[in-house]
Symmetry: C2
Subunit: 335 residues, 2 copies
């Protein structure tokens, strides 16, 4: 079985994102948001059958751990109440996809974060998504300000109430920023990758996993800059008198394979233990074209993983075993 | 000849950094800064002979392009007048090092930047350092706020007056952030690497090199996350209908080899043309320990470069030829 641990609903029916525009416009003008639009099952089916499901079949992957569009989370927009309503709408839509295509999609929720608002705010929605929808994880945005980095780092006790609930529910978080509203950053270029690198550093320089030994984070996009600079991080940890990185972090931190060329994937597999790599593509996402050097989609990451010098056992871990371990609720859904 | 294009004066005599503390304290209290401390040639000699020069000799490199301590630039501290005085003090010290050890160190200046203050402010110091001190380049901080990213991106016309002067003087800039004052970031971990990645993106999504076809930037620390995600950037450029990255950026953007393990260096040399890689170590800098996996200093980057499958001609470019091309004033100094 090939589990893609990183997919977002980037092809949701048009009225869903249109409602978000209306919601934020209404908030700005101090009006109540309009009612949420009707979205039929057929519209959802069409958006999936012509998109994610088609690519799953073409590429030979089996199931996608599926969450709302990451750039669309927009935690810097509106306030806590708009975030709450938007997260509820997005997560419900994911639940409908997973209900319509139970063999192909397993849900992960976005959280109703807002810059400067305690993550306690997110607990009810996380519980609802896990307990009522059967979701297996959440996406946690380390920078709800959208590129101004105004919330405390992930190792701060500010985030602990959410971690307590994650541990209780036995769900991991993918650490994933949303749209950059800071003109210094390109959302899917620098902001995503910088969020990954910052998150890893925040974990490295904190007591987070001493305090929460079973908490698990997936750092997407191949871990940002981290594997490429693994020597730098090993050296920084050593200079800080910290334990070696495998002991310090690799029981809790995992990297996905959203790296869109073979040399990057080779590096990832060379420096990060196979136990800490989860197969992922983030299709249909940041990069949608065909690589003229290969003739295949940049984000068809299975083609790269197939070429890696991994043993069959390690490849099984990357494709399936690690995902089942990192998302403990997954096996109950998949069988 | 082996030219290390990235060294900072991290071992400067103690009274230099002590004065900076006094200067900022005085600024906070609205007092005039004290006079700058006396620093003897012998003190400078000792700080270099026991530090950078010793390592040059041990590691077999010939000359270092040398600039003030990057984390110490602190453009977020004080105001335009404190930055001006501090940059003058730091650059003067670099000039004294280069005068005492003319075969081993060639100067690059820091700029008197301040968050929110026009880079026009930096022109006089750049001119002074190039024309009076014989410096061959400058370090340009893309985020003088120290991790809050409040200045316009590098492609913005905001920076153009400085670029005009750089082009006129025929000097490149290394794009290098300073200390992070934002608790979200670790200075030498995430902030440096994120600055590199952001800078590359800012160049990619701007008309900068159309407007300044001879402007040259060195992105340090192996280009942050960029080479590891070269496929992502190629794909993003293609989706944006931009020319291929070599055409779009590689006449103007260069990467150094400050990557502190062999797998990262191998990746760099595999995806970035040899013409765009400049040898560098950033010793004595971010990572100061011995890698237990190799028994050698993490930042002894020459050991990695020696192991790369580069032709002798390409290695010569990385060690010397590219530096002479990117820093056109270098050959006048080196002969």
């Amino acid at each position: 079985m090939i589990i893609d641990c990183h997919g977002h609903y980037t092809t949701s029916p048009r009225q869903h994102e249109a409602w978000r525009q209306e919601q934020i416009a209404a908030h700005k003008e101090g009006r109540a948001a309009p009612n949420r639009p009707a979205i039929s099952d057929d519209e959802i089916r069409a958006s999936i059958e012509g998109g994610q499901l088609k690519l799953q079949q073409e590429r030979g992957t089996d199931v996608t751990i599926f969450s709302p569009r990451a750039a669309g989370m927009g935690h810097h927009l509106g306030d806590a109440s708009t975030s709450e309503a938007w997260a509820a709408a997005c997560n419900e839509l994911i639940h409908r996809v997973c209900t319509l295509f139970p063999r192909n999609f397993i849900g992960v929720c976005m959280l109703p974060q807002s810059a400067g608002v305690s993550p306690k705010n997110c607990i009810a929605e996380l519980e609802r998504c896990v307990n009522e929808y059967g979701f297996v994880g959440c996406n946690l945005n380390p920078d709800p300000s959208g590129g101004y980095w105004q919330d405390p780092p992930l190792g701060d006790r500010y985030w602990y109430p959410l971690y307590e609930k994650m541990v209780e529910l036995d769900v991991p978080a993918m650490i994933h920023v949303s749209m950059a509203c800071n003109p210094a950053f390109h959302t899917t270029g620098s902001h995503y990758l910088n969020g990954d690198t910052a998150a890893f550093n925040q974990c490295m320089t904190s007591n987070l996993f001493k305090d929460f030994p079973t908490l698990k984070f997936i750092i997407p996009h191949g871990g940002g800059a981290v594997p490429y600079h693994w020597g730098r991080f090993r050296g920084l940890a050593q200079d800080m008198k910290l334990p070696p990185l495998p002991e310090l972090l690799l029981h809790n931190v995992f990297f996905d394979t959203c790296v869109y060329h073979l040399p990057g994937q080779e590096l990832l597999a060379k420096v990060i233990p196979a136990e800490n790599i989860l197969f992922a593509s983030e299709m249909i996402g940041a990069v949608r074209g065909i690589d003229p050097e290969t003739g295949h989609a940049f984000d068809d990451t299975k083609r790269y993983v197939e070429q890696l010098p991994l043993s069959a056992a390690d490849k099984q871990k990357v494709y399936e075993g690690n995902a089942r371990r990192v998302y403990p609720r997954l096996s109950a859904r998949l069988g």
